[in-house]
């Protein structure tokens, strides 16, 4: 388990570097593949509760380290109305919430229905981006939710979801390499059922 978690951390760091090379797609409302959330979501369903929290903390921390903006600065008498920004650490909460969501369907995943998890990863990315944008609206006021943003969220989620089977395949390989058993209750049950039928 520890070796598997360690390799997932390494995979997340690689995903973080790879994310730097993934461009936005102007033709698809500036959507992009969100590799770090994807790796986290796929990994979250394969690990236990405490490992998921560790991964959520790491991902949120890295995400905010990359994206947090500094203060506006300037003369306060001229710039009277400061624009509030999201504080460092908010992503940790969002990642944890997504992780809980993925853990919720872990029983299905263990039954071998990994495609549910793949689809849910798209839903979770959608909810993550939506929550992030709503948070920005909340702290800055003036609620806006233009069509361009809706499409950006939608396309980013779908694009990200498309790559989830690939990430699951990598995770299964890693599990095999590290000797970690992603418990496949479904296969166990079917084998048991077959055994009962034979006898």
């Amino acid at each position: 388990m520890i070796r598997y978690t360690f390799t997932i951390i390494l995979l997340l760091l690689i995903a973080n570097i790879a994310q730097q090379f993934i461009p936005i797609l102007p033709e698809l409302a500036n959507a992009r593949v969100l590799l770090i959330p994807l790796v986290f979501l796929c990994a979250a369903v394969t690990v236990n509760y405490s490992s998921m929290l560790l991964l959520a903390f790491l991902c949120g921390f890295l995400w905010d380290a990359q994206n947090t903006l500094g203060p506006h600065g300037g003369d306060a008498t001229v710039y009277e109305h400061p624009v509030a920004s999201l504080v460092f650490g908010y992503s940790i909460v969002l990642y944890a919430l997504m992780g809980f969501l993925m853990q919720g369907i872990q029983p299905l995943f263990r039954q071998g229905k990994w495609h549910f998890s793949a689809m849910l990863s798209g839903v979770a990315v959608f909810l993550y981006l939506l929550a992030e944008f709503l948070l920005i609206n909340f702290v800055r006021g003036d609620f806006v939710f233009p069509a361009a943003t809706r499409y950006q969220i939608l396309y980013s989620s779908v694009l990200t979801m498309i790559f989830s089977p690939l990430v699951f395949a990598i995770l299964f390989k890693l599990a095999k390499l590290t000797g970690y058993t992603i418990r496949y209750d479904g296969l166990k049950k079917s084998r048991t059922r077959r055994f009962i039928l034979h006898t």
């Binding site: 973080n16 570097i17 730097q20 090379f21 461009p23 936005i24 102007p26 409302a29 500036n30 992009r32 969100l34 236990n48 509760y49 405490s50 929290l53 560790l54 959520a56 903390f57 949120g60 921390f61 890295l62 905010d64 380290a65 990359q66 994206n67 947090t68 903006l69 500094g70 203060p71 506006h72 600065g73 300037g74 003369d75 001229v78 710039y79 109305h81 624009v83 920004s85 504080v87 460092f88 650490g89 908010y90 940790i92 909460v93 944890a96 981006l129 992030e132 944008f133 920005i136 609206n137 800055r140 003036d142 806006v144 939710f145 233009p146 361009a148 943003t149 950006q152 980013s156």
Partner: protein, 269 residues
Amino acid sequence: MKPLNLLALLLFLGGLVWALTLSESTVREIQRGYYAVISPFLTKGSQLETHIRGFSDEVQTSKELTAKLAATHDELGRLRLVEERFQQLEAENSQLREALNFKKQSPFKAISAQVIRRQPSTWWRTVIIDRGEESGVRVQVPVLGDKGLVGKIDQPLKGMSTVILLTDEDCRVSAKVEGTPEVGILSGQRGQFDGSPLLRLRYLSKNAGVRPGMKVFTTGRGGLFPANVLLGTIESFETGTFDAEALVRPSVDFADLNTVFVLSGEVQP
């Protein structure tokens, strides 16, 4: 709940509280460390992009390139003349200021920089440029393009800096409309992520004689941007209950941002 899970949750909450209560300077230090680790990869990625672009340029016919070279030579000659004239005017201006006992304005030094990463975050309009602290880039100094203001430095790092663009809601500029006494605050609009987003100029007076086509410049107030830098052109004007606001088309094409100039030196009102 299992004891191990409870312990993990408590540790997670402790870590979360620690992260949420970090001071601004600590966050900046964390970000510096983060970018120090990923900067080699960003640089390599940028070099790769340059190579690809260079290859596609080579594919262009030599005729086109010759024509471009000739046009560039003409432009260079014209710019040399403009620079000469500018130096004369600067010297004359300096003499006049001294004569009038004006406070001497610090000369700005422009550092040219290349954009190496576009829009690294989902919601903020930012770019990363290839010049950092060692080149004299400082926090919140203005960044200009050939047609006007691009934004300001959000974070100077080692070998690179992040620039928050004028089209971001968080980048606010004290602006004036040419030919009028109107002064307002110009900023980007939330959720506008297309190639040519419009800016919003707020806090104008209700009876401001602002018309589409008028140019908008920086006022130089607020200690962030120098005066008289072109920001854009008025697109439309709307009056509200207490004040008015205008939509401004930025002078810089943010979809085609490659070379920018970082100003170093003090900004004086």
